[in-house]
Every structure is written in C-alpha cells, then in structure tokens.
C-alpha cells in the first residue's frame, strides 16, 4: 500500500514537472492550459467562487453539493434495488414480471436520464438524485438477484437445520452472504453515477463541480476549469478508495461464502 502510494505520488510528480517545464518553454499557451503553479496558486490565494456576486458558491460548496447528490442517489438506488431484488427472489411471478423490465432499463446510461430528469424535476437537486437513482437501480437489482441466486444452498440448509425461519434466514444469512457481491457492483456503479451528476451539472443544473468547469469556460477562466477537473478527479479517487476500504474491512468475506 505504502509502496504503491509512493509510486503513485512519484508518477504524478513526473507528470506535473513535465507540464510545468512545457509551460516554461512556451509549448503550452498559459491562457488555455495554465501550468499547476499557476492554477494551484490561484486556488490558494483567491479561494474560489464559482460565478460572480456575493451569493456565488465556493468550491467547497460545489464539492459538497455534488457529493450530496451522488450519495443520496446511490443510497436510494441501493435500498430500492435490495427491495426489488429480494421481492423478485421471494416471489417467482414477481421475478418473471419485473426482471424483463429491469434488464431492458439496466443498460441505459445514467446520462440518458438527464433530459427526462430536467423536465420532471426542473433545475435542482431532485433532477440529480433522479438521474443517479435511475442510473444505478436497475444494474444493482440485476446484481442483487444474481448474488442471492449465488448463495450456497448448503449454507441455507445449515441455517434451516439450526432453526432459522425465513425472515431470520433472509436477515442473517442470505443478505450478508450476498452483500459483498452487490457491493462490488455498487463500487462499479459509483463512477457511472458520479459522471452522470457531473454531466447534469454541466448541461442543466448550473451548480456543483460540473458547473464549475462550464462557468470557468464561459468566463475564459482556464484556472477554474483545471481546478474543477483536478477536484473531480481527486474526489472520485477518494470516494472510490473509501468504497475499496469498506469492501476490504466491512464486507471482506466476498470470496469466503
């Protein structure tokens, strides 16, 4: 972990150094592609407001807004997918009725829900949450049903032989056994959700990290554009690292059951 971290920082140092040198040597035009020393000092010195006026949000506000949207959408998506997945697994007719719909909607990219979200919820958080929820709920439902099907039948027989009734069996055996596999899918879906919210923020919502980049472009502020990209990348990386940590520390038994 530490060695990998050192390599990661090292290769980023090389990229930044080359970028910096390229700017010094005049290979990159500073107004379009400013070097890190330029936009990072802008970040440190000025603080950042996105847009103009006293009410313009800061970069921290924008980051929190984006995280809140992704978080709320993912949470609703996970709860709904678990509910649909469990229902479909318990009641075979429900499975036959619901799964064809779910499997057709699962491949739809989250970004494709943006126009519908905007016309249903207008410009605001509702649209973002709607996009994330619809973007993840169907794939997660497919994953949940598959994970439940994959639970070792002998594990269930063991639990039933020890007296587990069906409610207890679901809460204490099936869901814990299926959780790691579903969570892997959550992790994969996180990026799709993250990107969908950013795209929605760029094209319609006019707030959050995605909007920062568009506003930067409109104001010919290349520093803001690059800071936006950097923050998006780092936040996505941090969130994914957190999900990996949860996978390893909390739902670690994926390969054991």
């Amino acid at each position: 972990m530490c060695v990998a971290g050192a390599y990661g920082l090292g290769s980023w140092a090389v990229v930044i150094a080359l970028w910096e040198l390229a700017a010094r040597w005049g290979w990159l035009k500073e107004s379009i592609f400013p070097p890190p020393s330029h936009f990072l000092s802008y970040l440190i010195n000025d603080g950042i407001q996105i847009g103009v006026g006293p009410d313009a949000p800061t970069l921290v506000d924008a980051t929190l807004a984006t995280f809140a949207r992704v978080g709320a959408g993912l949470a609703i998506g996970i709860v709904a997918a678990t509910a649909i997945g469990v229902t479909a697994s318990v009641i075979p007719p429900a499975r036959r009725a619901v799964m064809p719909i779910v499997r057709v909607l699962a491949p739809v990219a989250p970004i494709a829900w943006i126009p519908l979200g905007l016309s249903l919820f207008g410009i605001g958080d509702g649209t973002a949450v709607f996009i994330v929820t619809l973007g993840v709920v169907f794939t997660l439902t497919v994953a949940t049903v598959a994970a439940i099907d994959d639970v070792n039948p002998e594990l269930l027989k063991t639990a039933r032989s020890l007296g587990s009734n069906s409610v207890h069996l679901w809460a204490n055996v099936i869901l814990p056994a299926a959780a790691p596999q579903v969570f892997t899918m959550v992790r994969l879906n996180f990026f799709a959700a993250w990107m969908a919210v950013l795209a929605a923020e760029m094209v319609g919502l006019r707030s959050g990290l995605g909007a920062a980049i568009i506003i930067g472009r409109e104001q010919f502020n290349a520093d803001l554009v690059l800071i936006g990209i950097m923050v998006i990348g780092l936040c996505g990386f941090a969130a994914d690292s957190l999900l990996v940590l949860i996978q390893k520390r909390v739902l670690w038994w994926g390969k054991q059951s």
């Binding site: 070792n152 002998e154 594990l155 027989k157 063991t158 639990a159 039933r160 032989s161 020890l162 007296g163 587990s164 207890h168 204490n172 055996v173 814990p176 056994a177 038994w253 054991q256 059951s257």
Partner: protein
C-alpha cells in the same frame, strides 16, 4: 426409546416429462437412541438425500421418516446436520457461529454464553472463540461446525461425509473428537461416508446402500470394543467383507460410465481389440 426410523422412504427428483428420477427407493432403516450408524455406499447412491429427508430439508415422495413415532415434516433442533464443507458463516466470529441456533432456544444471554463456552472447550477451541472462520485451519473449522450443530442440543446428529475434505491426520483427530462427543453427550449419530475404514472405526452398525437409486442392501453390526484396532483380525475380516460389497456397488454405479477397459475379463477381449484398432 426415541428411535429415528426411515419407513419405506422413496424420493424421486422431478424430471421433465416422466415420473422423475429415483434417488432412493423403499428404504427401511431404524437407528436407536444413542446408536452410531454409518451409511456407506458409492457416490450418487442417495445417502445425502436420506439425511436431508431426516433433517426435514427434503420431503420423501413416498414413505416417511419418524423420530419417536412422530413424522418429520420440517427442520428441527432435535436433528442437526454437519456437511463435508464446514459452512460456517464467515462474517460471524467462532462464538457467534456456535450460538447461531441458540437464538431460537429461548435461553438467557448468560446461559447461551455458558453453553457456547462449554462446547468450545469440549472441542478444544476455547482459545479461538473470538476469531473469524477464515483465520482457522480446516480441522478447527469443522470442529466449530460440530460444536454449532451440538449447541442446540440435538438428539440426532446427521453427518454428511463431514471429514472427507480433511487431510489424513486431521481426519483421524476429528474421528476421535466425534467419538468423544458421542460418548459424552449420548447423541444419536447417523454418519454418511464412503470410506470403509472410517465406518468400521466409528459405527455400531454399518448400513450398505446400493448404487443409485439407493436401496438398503444390508446392515452389518460392528461388535468390536472401542478404541478399535484396525489390525484386529475381526476388523480386517469385516473390512474385507464390506470392501468387496462396496466395490460391487461402485462397479454397478460405474457400469455404463467407465468404458470397456473396466468391464469384467470375459468381456474385455473385445474392448482391447477396440482399443488396438483405435491406434
């Protein structure tokens, strides 16, 4: 006497079109309270099905299994199962795995803890009570599984090749543990195995099941004192007898699946010709 009794048990697995594939046919077997009975037979002969019906996890197509005269119609804490794989819940610590079935037993928290601690020290695992299953060796996991099955205080323990996945040394150790558990708790044991030696070392009585669909062929009482000596001439005689019967069933089970090379001598001439022609 609380006898576990299979009465004319047949089980057909559903198959498209026909009446189903028979797994076991018309099995009658009685296991007395406190008795140790081994079921032995070739792979696929329906031994597991017989156990699962007794556990209440499968229902027979015809016939029934009774415990103390009452028909079994579902799983119950009076009969618990131990499988070849330990099937511990990996997310639960050893202690919670053993306590799994006790949640339904209506015991107080302190009584539950007392029982779990007692069982863990009985199988030599008191020191690992707070470990997680992946941190244990194969033999330890199987001992946890044994303790978990015993925790609910079953009258009958149904064991489905419980030591088959263990290495030789661990298996010998586990056989000792099982005998010690049996002698201490007086639990009735129904032990499925395909190893003749294991059956002869452990059981009061060995029931031989035919190649599938499984029928009960014969029951052999093992009237030897414990601990049993595999070099005892009586042990060797029983071993030879049981091995030849089992071999006959294994060959019957394999009859169509093994090719001409394994057919009896008078038929194999043709097989060798065929073999030579191929090359």
């Amino acid at each position: 006497m609380r006898t576990l009794r299979w009465e004319g048990v047949s089980k057909y697995w559903p198959a498209p079109g026909g009446e189903g594939v028979p797994a076991v046919l018309d099995v009658d077997l009685a296991v007395n309270a406190g008795e140790f009975v081994a079921l032995i037979g070739p792979s696929g002969c329906g031994k597991t099905t017989l156990l699962e019906i007794a556990a209440g996890l499968e229902s027979p197509t015809s016939g029934c299994v009774t415990l103390d005269g009452k028909a079994i119609d579902g799983p119950g804490p009076d009969r618990t199962l131990v499988f070849q794989e330990h099937h511990l819940f990996p997310w639960l610590r050893v202690r919670s795995n053993v306590a799994f079935g006790l949640r339904f037993a209506g015991l107080s928290r302190s009584d539950r803890k007392k029982r779990v601690d007692g069982l863990l020290s009985a199988v030599g695992l008191a020191g690992v009570a707070d470990k997680l299953p992946p941190q244990l060796s194969g033999g330890m996991r199987q001992r946890v599984a044994l303790a978990r099955a015993l925790a609910v205080g079953p009258e009958v323990l149904l064991l489905d090749e419980p030591f088959a996945a263990l290495d030789f040394q661990t298996r010998i150790l586990m056989q000792r543990y099982l005998l010690a558990v049996w002698q201490r708790f007086g639990t009735t044991m129904v032990f499925v195995t395909h190893q003749v030696d294991e059956a002869l070392l452990l059981a009061d009585r060995v029931a031989l099941v035919s190649a599938g669909p499984g029928r009960l062929l014969e029951e052999i009482a093992i009237d030897l004192p414990r601990p049993r000596d595999p070099a005892d001439p009586r042990f060797l005689k029983l071993r030879a007898q049981l091995t030849s019967h089992l071999e006959r069933e294994v060959m019957a089970a394999a009859d169509e699946g093994m090719g001409e090379l394994l057919l009896p001598a008078e038929e194999s001439e043709h097989g060798i010709e065929a073999h030579e022609r191929v090359f």
